[in-house]
Structures are given as C-alpha cells and as structure tokens.
Symmetry: C2
Subunit: 150 residues, 2 copies
C-alpha cells in the first residue's frame, strides 16, 4: 500500500534523523508528526495544537512550535506563508513532495501543483544570476475563472 509505505518511511526517517542528530524520540514528537501526516491541509501551529491535544491533553503549544522547528530543519516539515499573519505547516517527505500553491483569494482554498518546467526555469535563472539555488518560495494568488464548468 502506497500510503502505508509513505507513513512508514516518514516515521523511520524521523527516528533515523533524530538519532543522527542526537535528538530524542519523545511521545510528543511522535504524536505531532503523526497528526501532521494524517492532515491533508496546511494547519497553523494553533490548529495543530488543538488536534494534538485530542490525543494528549498535556502537550503544550510551546512544544508544538519547538517540534515544528526541529522537523523543519530536518526537512520533514515545510513551513509555508500564505499571506495571513501565521505560518502554516505540512509534511514534506524527501524531495518527491516538492510543490507549490495556488490560493483562491476569495475562498481561501489552496490548490497544490507541481510544474517541472517551472522548476527548470527557476534553476536556470538562479544559475544565470551566478547563484546556487538553495530554496525558493512561489505562491500564486487568484480567483476562479467563471468558465464553462461553472
């Protein structure tokens, strides 16, 4: 099963990377990663905290923030900025899952997309500017087309 494989590798990745960096696997971290893996949207720290507390009431918001920070440095979690004031998070296992977001400015809906041409182009641009590309942010904002499908 594809889903199971992905979840396993995420948890394995977590434990392996934790050991490699001298970090400890705690119950709190396990819960937070699990909740985030089960989420199919982009929760902020508070939303995540609420979900996490349904599993373990005692986990604090500080631990949620700290864990997200750790997971981000491990490239297990991606931190996103959709323009409202808070950061949003999602699982980002390996390089496979790289994608960007189209945000409907009327409904707030978020559509994910990946475009290889775009990835190539942005790499080429960086190269022409004399840079080694380390990271990039791209978000599109728009409104739904009132087309035939409407």
């Amino acid at each position: 099963m594809d889903l199971v494989k992905r979840e396993q590798s995420a948890l394995e990745g977590l434990e392996a990377l934790c050991h490699a960096k001298g970090l400890r696997i705690t119950g709190q971290r396990r819960v937070i990663v699990q909740i985030l893996m089960d989420a199919d949207d982009h929760p902020d720290a508070d939303e995540l905290h609420s979900m996490v507390r349904k599993v373990d009431r005692s986990i604090s918001i500080a631990t949620v923030y700290r864990t997200l920070q750790v997971l981000e440095q491990m490239n297990i979690v991606a931190k996103r900025d959709f323009g409202d004031g808070r950061a949003r998070y999602e699982i980002s296992v390996g390089q496979r899952d790289h994608h960007h977001h189209m945000i409907d400015i009327e409904s707030g809906e978020v559509i994910e997309f990946y475009n290889q041409e775009l990835e190539d182009l942005k790499m080429r641009i960086a190269d022409e500017l004399g840079f080694d590309l380390v990271d990039h942010h791209l978000e599109l904002f728009g409104t739904r087309l009132a087309s035939a499908g409407d």
Copy 2:
C-alpha cells in the same frame, strides 16, 4: 532625464490617485514617498522611519505604517517578504517595474530580476488550474557560485 520623469510620474500618480480616492495630500505622505523613491534598496518600516525623521523629526512610526498601507493599496508601493520577520517596501510605479528577488542567504544581498518566460509560465499554470491570476510571490534563495569570476 529618465530619473526625473519617473519621479515626476510617481508624484503625479500619487496626487491623482489620492484625489480620486478622497485621500488628502499631507506633508508626511510627501516625505515618505520621496524617501522611498530615492531609496534603491528594500527598507523595512523602521529603517524608513529613521530616514524620514531626518527630513521631519515629528513624523511617527504609526504614520509610516499607515502611509505604506495606503500606498500599497494604490499599487504605488510593493510590500515584500524576504523571510526575516518584517515586511520590506519599495516603490513600484505602474506595471513596468514588476520584478522578483534572488536573496543571497549568506550575505543578505538582494538581486532583482525579471524574466518574461517565467511570467508567461506562471500565467499559463494559473489558467490551467482554472484561475484568473491576481498576484504572485516568487523569491529565490541561494549562495554565490564559486566560479571563474571569483
């Protein structure tokens, strides 16, 4: 002179748009726009406030924030996010000046660029997703290549 023409059109644009929206032209707004037009970088509100106070000591930080907000809504100013915690601002007269930024994560240096291919592609992507593109954010982060020119 090209520079003079741009400055004139920016100030004219300011006054015209202010009148159109029932906004008043104040000394504070004039100073803030002027300082921002003379800047060739991306100051944050505090940096801008410091520069503004050299012309008029009495202008408050609140007015700087408020003015930037007004100017942004008029599309005279673009608000940027380079990943440090504060917003940065720059003059953005008309559509002509649309551009993006390559940020050197080691030095903090910011290089501006424009790429038509990229603009076309991002428009095409939005269209394929069924969206009318209203805005987009794109920033590249990287390190200088250790190439021949070094």
